[in-house]
Point group: C2
Chain length 362, copies 2
């Protein structure tokens, strides 16, 4: 009805201005909530906006504001293959095309990160662009993407220890925040968990249950989280008079947890407690224990780590150390937006405290 002679493209500021009988600048002010606009005119403009069905063109706005209102959410790895994704599902389903992305996203962990990120971003009118950076080439694309101004900064979830991406980003002067401390020190903000404290919680719980022959299935030892969880566990055991505890290294996958449990059981048939460095491996351990006729928790108590969905899927449900992934992801996002607002602010780190969640397995 109120359509003019235009037929083509979406309405522009110009159209709204004409309809409202004011200038583009005024419309712009109203839309961006800048004060100093007569309330009456504001109303007229708002009318015109809804009549014309106007929606501001984001590219045009970005061109002048130099902000994309988007951040890259990057899942990053060090190499091409090397199955050791952060908390890989260990899945070999047909859907698992052997690709990095397939492995990574099969894990509920990333879903939790996404949740935390989106929940923080959304009320602020920003959105995450998903990117993978598992090859050198893909990493360059991430850098290019940011340099093009397609995203204002990057949130990085690394699956490998020696990930070069954080270094590349800081070198290029791009804003980025990590989930988990980088293996080599990089002047960059990150959030992380007090892994050692978590492992201590697990060890103490096992000890308090009167387990005396406790073993651990560690995570990959080239990953900081894997190292820290093991260190925390060992320290606590030592402090309680157990200088030696059997250890089998896993890769954070269910499969590797099963294999590790088999080894442990073969070498120490009498063990009565197991600390698995994540839930997936804890679940695998439970399976193996049951196959060997051990009851959980009566014969062998099992404690996991993360409080992922695997902990609840397991029978019995896993007693585990909760990692508040969603909150950590939200905080990581907050750190990034802070940095964007104040580009000169120094890098910081925020460490979260884990929490023991007691369920049926220990």
């Amino acid at each position: 009805m109120t359509d003019d002679l235009r037929s083509a493209g979406a309405p522009t500021l110009e159209d709204v201005a004409r309809a409202a009988g004011v200038s583009r600048a005024t419309v712009s002010r109203v839309i961006n909530g800048v004060r100093n606009v007569d309330p009456a005119i504001q109303e007229v403009v708002r009318q015109a906006v809804s009549v014309t069905g106007y929606a501001p063109n984001r590219a045009a706005r970005s061109l002048v504001t130099r902000r994309a209102d988007a951040v890259a959410l990057v899942v990053s790895g060090a190499g091409v293959e090397a199955g050791a994704d952060r908390e890989g599902s260990g899945s070999r389903s047909a859907g698992d095309q052997g690709s990095f992305t397939a492995q990574v996203f099969a894990d509920p962990f990333f879903g939790r990160v996404v949740t935390g990120v989106v929940n923080y971003l959304r009320p602020r009118g920003m959105h995450p662009v998903l990117m993978f950076a598992e090859t050198s080439r893909a990493r360059d694309e991430v850098v290019a993407y940011l340099r093009q101004g397609s995203a204002d900064g990057a949130l990085i979830v690394s699956t490998h220890a020696e990930d070069p991406l954080p270094g590349l980003l800081t070198e290029a002067g791009l804003a980025a925040v990590l989930f988990a401390r980088p293996a080599r020190p990089v002047p960059i903000s990150y959030v992380d968990l007090a892994h050692q404290d978590g492992a201590r919680l697990a060890a103490e719980h096992l000890l308090a249950r009167d387990c005396r022959r406790i073993a651990t299935i560690s995570g990959p030892l080239d990953v900081p989280a894997g190292q820290a969880r093991l260190a925390g566990f060992r320290d606590t055991m030592a402090r309680h008079g157990h200088p030696y505890t059997p250890i089998a290294e896993g890769q954070f996958t269910q499969e590797s947890g099963e294999a590790a449990m088999e080894r442990l059981l073969a070498a120490h048939p009498d063990l009565d407690g197991v600390f698995a460095a994540n839930d997936l491996m804890g679940m695998g351990a439970c399976h193996v224990l049951r196959e060997h006729g051990r009851r959980v928790p009566e014969d062998v108590a099992v404690v996991g780590f993360d409080d992922s969905s695997a902990a609840l899927a397991c029978r019995p449900p896993l007693t585990t150390v909760r990692q508040p992934v969603e909150e950590m992801a939200a905080e990581m996002t907050r750190l990034l937006l802070d940095r964007l607002a104040r580009p000169t602010s120094p890098a910081t780190s925020v460490i979260f405290e884990p929490e023991l969640v007691v369920r049926g397995s220990a």
Copy 2:
């Protein structure tokens, strides 16, 4: 070194042009791979690009090309709460903040979708922007986002049957493709699985194993996929001389699968086969069966659906019907890009055939 008097902002086309001693247009041509540029000059330009460290500004480009080179990947639902996510994990971990997003992304299903989408998009220089649309307000934001030109089209994964988003999008003349057929017919492209065929495969497998007292744990019956899987199962059973089969409705969560299995077992203690409409429920069923002293598959055979990571996490690993989620997601993406290339092309649907995957449970 080759820096001029500029100190501020990123290098622009103008800078490169000056460095190469040519015009902006020529540089643009080289960068966009347009022919008709002297190879020698191309080389000079390329040099200039790398010397200046030039990266094209995406906003400026989008402004003129009217393309964002991004698509919205929307996880959509019908209402605010109503826990019935598509294939909810049934998790109640502390990480599960009760939020829609938390529930949705706890499920490996979405990870598989993301994988398929990214793998198709990436080689084409495009990226997915993650959005949730679980409330009326969030849906409006998705529509606005697209109208602003922030994304060129939308990929929609609905968690509910009566999702209004597809309708909103088509009304607004925006390009969109769905994963799974909409509950009410909407002139929009989608990919889907031949759910009935999948259920048939499951039923025939159970029958071929000489199961005679077969029950099913269905999905939510207000979801097309839930209906179709049940219908396919029943038809096949009937065709094989089983006019009646016990059914318990589940919600695609592990928990609901457990509850359904309890009911089934109470009413039909002698059953010897179960078809669960998804793996999560199948896993729950296995747990309950074992608790009731039934061996799987010796006493009761169980077949799941999806071939999700849950199928492999289960003990015994689930025999299941594989849904090629990654390929379906890639095809969905292809349909969208097709549509963007040819906006007038009619809506189409692509239906994928499921496949039986035999493992330990049946």
